[in-house]
């Protein structure tokens, strides 16, 4: 069963000036969210394959929406992250089923490559609950300039029987990174870490 999507929300955030200093090029992040019906709301279901398949579908859809919103070539994406907010008639494990087994592969296709783990967060929530989607460099998790987060929230979701699924893609790191560590220019991008 494909995801029953009620709405899709796409946001972009472009920072041009931080602490009075020009950010050149501007730092840009895109967030895409789908509000879906939770097929397992209100009951315990042992096998979560249906949600796993929905995760796979949404990884591609939301990843592509982010890249499109940024107006970049897929290979120009820098970092990514994912998250889910489960409405109160669901269970935290439903978020895990969407996020972990299969969402990553099509997301990596959408951003071309992506050797690094996709950082994630999940929670139970009600309408307007905010979740901070963690971000990390897509090819090397230790790139310090790209550790970041983007707040995701839908004013009228999730209803009790819904799940909000969020994906973030950026084309840059933090606006004025200066805490050292591994630089994006130094990565090998093979093991997903450095």
């Amino acid at each position: 069963m494909p995801a029953k999507i009620r709405k899709i929300i796409v946001q972009t955030d472009e920072v041009r000036v931080e602490m009075g200093r020009d950010v050149q090029p501007p730092v840009r992040k895109a967030l895409a969210m789908a509000v879906i019906e939770n097929p397992f709301a209100g009951r315990y279901v042992e096998n979560l394959d249906e949600l796993i398949a929905i995760g796979e579908e949404l990884g591609g859809l939301l990843g592509a929406r982010c890249v499109q919103a940024l107006g970049i070539a897929p290979g120009d994406a820098h970092s990514y992250g994912k998250a889910a907010i489960v409405g109160e008639a669901g269970e935290l494990e439903h978020a895990a089923a969407i996020l972990h087994p299969k969402l990553g592969a099509p997301l990596r296709v959408a951003v071309e490559k992506g050797a690094a783990l996709v950082p994630s967060s999940k929670k139970m929530g009600g309408l307007g609950t905010a979740i901070d989607v963690p971000l990390g460099h897509k090819d090397a998790a230790y790139v310090r300039s790209h550790f970041d987060a983007m707040e995701a929230r839908v004013a009228d979701a999730p209803r009790a029987n819904e799940i909000v699924v969020a994906v973030v893609v950026t084309d840059s790191g933090r606006p004025l990174p200066r805490v050292g560590g591994l630089m994006a220019s130094e990565i090998k991008g093979v093991d997903g870490l450095r």
Binding site: I8, V10, E14
Partner: protein, 213 residues
Amino acid sequence: MIQIRRVFTHLEEIRHEFGPVADVPLLRGAIGAVLTNPFAGRYEPDILPMMDALQDVGLDMAQRLLKAMAVPAERIETYGKGAIVGAAGELEHGALWHVPGGYAMRELLGWKGDRNAYAKGQAEEKTGQPANALSIVPSTKKVGGPGAALDVPLTHINASYVRSHFDAIEVRVPGAPSADEIVFILAMTTGPRIHARVGGLKAADISQWNGLR
């Protein structure tokens, strides 16, 4: 006078709200520009120069919003605008958005009037359907902290009384406005509420072309 720190866009593609699934999803969009408030922290009697300075900001934002929505201007059916002023500013600073914000969208959508005459408080006569975007752009404003949410009212672009198109969109920019910032907001949608069914004036029955009915 104008420093744009951040630009935030928000799009919603609404397929249903627990009723029949729409053949064409309703698209709602908003753009928020986070500007430095040049009047933060003091009472400045003469703030009107900023209204002029904001005209280009408004046009640029309206164009960016339409581009982000990826629809032709002809599909836009409602609009609205708003401002969130950071804690070191005053509500009146948000009111600077009235002329530059509204007329940027109206001109983009086909309005043919004289915005400078309007800015001076001069009304104009309208007969027949002179153009599009005849309605006043509904607005709201507040003073708020970082991440404050503003419910931006939306009404039909040609007749404010079209009941199916009374709507609002919640807009907030995480982390903004800080005390010395203002978030200026524009919003547009492609149609009525997704399951509109409370009667009243229909868009198809607009007849007076006076921006109201």
